[in-house]
Assembly symmetry: D3
Homo-oligomer: 79 residues x 6
């Protein structure tokens, strides 16, 4: 009876998209459910997958909102 | 000092509604707080209840987004 | 397809117990499942309830570990 | 590799604002990351902070939605 | 920068084991990280996976602790 | 009424310790509560902080359990 919670930043990762698409979500759900069946033998009907999309300004890493963190990394690389 | 997190799909469950109503949320909050007082003696003022409504396409079960899963179940029953 | 997460401090609340008993947990599970059926019409077979017991020193309130916070409250009342 | 999840009600706490501002979020992210570095020596690049803003009607305390709970407290104080 | 939380009951799923093995956990971690790279292009170094094993008596489904629920299902099938 | 959940690997970070100490936990609780008061004006009595210590083999990053990931990083640096 697994429960899986996936948190990602709300942003597009395929061209022309500004957020995770329904198709990408369906692939995440299928992939995680397949994995739990394969590794632990959990029947798919008892696996819940919940995807949470988090606004960019609500996600922090490196002590900064993620957009600022990426700019900082890019600037360091450019040195 | 309990903390309770309730995750449900964002959809209407009473007629004419497309989401959980404020009244339904208030009943969930009261019900959970009553339960923790009754079973564990926790004072209601120190029980937090947080309700999260999850978009249908973000909730998976049976390896599928929940809407597809329900269609599949319905199709199987109709056989 | 609700998922409910209940977090409580790991401590006994009935006489002679040092933690939540299996019977108390079963009552919490039943109570929450009944509530979601009653308020939102969710079938019980698709409601997951996960109880997490948190060590006292891992739970903070009022800027203090919960045991210290209770002592502080008791001392204030005794004034 | 810490992960920190901060849940707050979605409401303004500085004058003229109806929600937590981007600047306040950046200060929360920095503050938590500094704290984990200081107390546990965790490098900031491996600390994730996720802020979740919860609608007022989705947050319960004292057996009531938080707005009703505050009204009740205010009424008691006014007695 | 995804964060994935996997909750499973604490029980063995391979012969002779009473809990999820370190090898099974490693496969879950790899599988989820591969999936997020493949579907969303997320670099593996910024994907956190946290596995939580939940005591059987702390997991409820169908209004019952999971062990009781399984017995009930088995009894129904045996009819 | 904030709720803050802090997840860290279960390991010692000060000399001679194999886990986070009670004193370190108290400092995390105080630090987070101070921060929420300072940034959002939240009274400390209504801030909950819950610390979860996660077994090393249950935490993954870079597609690996965290211990293996650190070894890999160290090996790369040593090249």
């Amino acid at each position: 009876m697994p429960y899986v919670n996936i948190q990602v930043t709300r942003e597009g990762t395929s061209s022309g998209e500004s957020k995770t698409t329904a198709d990408q979500k369906a692939r995440l759900i299928k992939g995680v459910s397949d994995l739990l069946l394969e590794v632990l033998g959990k029947p798919q009907s008892s696996t819940f997958v919940v995807i949470e999309e988090v606004e960019m300004e609500n996600w922090g890493v490196g002590g900064l909102p993620v957009a600022d963190y990426r700019k900082q990394l890019a600037a360091e690389k450019a040195k």
